[in-house]
């Protein structure tokens, strides 16, 4: 299998705080990686480095073989990386349809006209919002905002999808649906990195797991092995959800 993402000793400092500390990670095409770690361990910061929202202080970032260290987020998006945000971000003054159009029109595929419409409809259908395409995004309830954000990320036609606690804040029924949705994406062969605190979701969706603690990568491997690793249990699982 070919390597889609490689981070080489990626580091991010905020003043005196090292939020991401020499993280080296490789994700192959078609893999689904769960990214775990206690609060403040640097998971979101790592996602921000991979998507270009933040520039690394040190280290290198390679996407599909090209060196994109320090590249602007729009260049990384064009290279096929799509993301959702931990605090959901929709475009409130645009309709659902327009929200989803954006990465399809400006991302790697640069669609316009009929192919763009087809992509938008397909992505809204995937998340079950097609019937409300013309509605203003500001009118959506929280769960539907999350769905819309996922549809928008999918509309890019991404090679790599970054989900930052996309399942957080859902009720049990919604969670069940959400897991089903991500499983279907997985089955299409999409490469995903998902930050997640919900262990059932991690066990259900991620064959492989990486764990961060204080900015460092402390474990990386098959999910069962990682979750029973004493270091991981001590750092993280011992606190709450074992």
């Amino acid at each position: 299998m070919s390597e889609l993402l490689t981070t080489d000793a990626l580091t991010k400092r905020f003043g005196g705080l090292t939020a991401v500390d020499g993280v080296s990670l490789t994700v192959r095409k078609g893999e689904v990686l769960g990214l775990l770690g206690p609060n403040g361990s640097g998971k979101t910061t790592l996602m921000n480095l991979i998507s270009g929202a933040l520039k690394p202080s040190e280290g290198r970032l390679l996407i599909a073989g090209s060196d994109l260290t320090g590249a602007r987020p729009d260049r990384i998006a064009k290279a096929g990386v799509a993301r959702t945000f931990q605090l959901v971000r929709i475009l409130p003054s645009l309709t659902l349809r327009e929200n989803v159009m954006v990465p399809a029109a400006f991302g790697p595929d640069r669609l316009w006209g009929a192919p763009l419409e087809a992509r938008v409809t397909e992505c809204l259908e995937t998340v079950g919002l097609a019937a409300r395409a013309g509605q203003a995004a500001s009118e959506l309830a929280y769960i539907d905002q999350k769905r819309l954000e996922l549809a928008r990320a999918l509309a890019a036609g991404p090679r790599l999808l970054l989900l930052d606690e996309w399942l957080a804040g859902l009720n049990p029924t919604e969670l069940h649906e959400g897991i089903g949705l991500i499983r279907r994406l997985e089955e299409t062969g999409l490469t995903i990195i998902m930050v997640e605190h919900i262990m059932d979701a991690v066990r259900a969706l991620c064959p492989r797991c990486a764990v961060m603690n204080s900015g460092k990568l402390i474990a990386d491997g098959p999910t069962d092995a990682v979750l029973s690793d004493p270091h991981v249990v001590a750092a993280y699982l011992g606190e709450e959800d074992a």
């Binding site: 929202a53 729009d74 945000f85 971000r89 929709i90 029109a105």
Partner: protein, 309 residues
């Protein structure tokens, strides 16, 4: 096709107006066409991005000054071309250095820019050329100026309509909503903003250039009058800066009102202008067109609420 027909008939009607109205009326038409164009060009950039620019008169004044300096040296069409080129270059430099600023800093910078340009030109004229005022000897009457402005205005509205349907228009609306999402969707923030800023500023420069012959005598304090920037903003906001016809709907009544106010209360004009500015921003934050739509909508919402209650 129907729209094109209506547009052609309207433009035809507008262009024969100077023959029906007298000299005073034609003078008003020049001002109207000028401000409709300024407000539409302003809203082209500031409407979707929500960057409030107070630099209108910086470009407008540079356009007028270019004509004042070059009118005896070059043929008129070339003078206009030079004005457009200078405006575009200036917008490019200003845009490259400021469009990374957050909205609030941009407002202040844009206001300072007009003053800076005025002071630079004054300094240059006094210390280098030794002439503060300049005369414009161009044989262009109010009628010819009006026709040029009408043509520019039509092109501006046409361009604005085209941008709204284009990829660039979508990019700017996304930027106005959330720059982070825009960037992560593949939109080049700096380039999209810059392209529109330069287009808008070039049109504004041309309005200044075309109107310049109306003054005959030009000096920096006349052509760099900050009121032009403020009027443009109020007009666009009153009509609705995110709508194609918004700036026009704001510019026409406000221009006529200002004409009347400045004739009637010349001493209190600035105060009235300030009050009106506040009233527009406070009462109609999204413009009259949105307010009219809003008046219709609540009825429906009200009805549906009653039904569910």
């Amino acid at each position: 096709m129907l729209y094109l027909g209506i547009a052609a008939v309207s433009v035809g009607g507008l262009s024969v107006l100077p023959f029906l109205l007298g000299d005073y009326g034609t003078g008003l038409l020049v001002g109207l066409a000028g401000y409709v164009t300024l407000a539409t060009a302003w809203a082209m950039f500031s409407g979707p991005t929500r960057y409030i620019s107070l630099a209108t008169v910086a470009f407008f004044g540079v356009g007028a000054y270019t004509v004042a300096v070059l009118n005896e040296v070059l043929p008129y069409p070339l003078v206009l071309l030079c004005a457009a080129g200078i405006g575009a270059t200036m917008a490019l430099l200003v845009g490259l250095s400021t469009l990374r600023l957050a909205g609030i800093y941009f407002v202040i910078f844009s206001f300072g820019l007009a003053e800076l340009v005025r002071q630079l030109i004054t300094w240059f004229e006094v210390n280098v050329t030794g002439t503060l005022g300049r005369y414009i000897f161009l044989d262009l009457g109010a009628r010819e100026i009006y026709w040029q402005l009408l043509a520019l205005g039509v092109c501006t509205i046409g361009l604005a309509a085209w941008i709204r349907r284009s990829r660039l228009g979508l990019a700017l609306r996304v930027i106005g909503d959330d720059e982070t999402v825009a960037a992560h969707s593949g939109i080049n923030l700096a380039r999209s903003k810059l392209v529109l800023f330069v287009a808008s500023a070039t049109i504004i420069t041309l309005v200044g250039a075309i109107q310049a012959p109306r003054w005959v005598y030009v000096e920096p304090s006349i052509v760099f009058n900050p009121t032009v920037s403020f009027l443009t903003v109020i007009m666009a906001l009153l009509g609705g800066a995110t709508r194609l016809w918004g700036p026009l709907c704001g510019a026409v009544p406000l221009f006529l009102l200002f004409e009347w106010l400045s004739a009637r209360f010349p001493d209190h004009f600035s105060i009235l202008l300030g009050l009106l500015f506040m009233a527009v921003v406070y009462a109609l934050p999204n413009g009259v067109l949105a307010a009219i739509e809003g008046l219709r909508k609540p009825k429906r919402n009200g009805a549906s609420k009653e039904a569910t209650a």
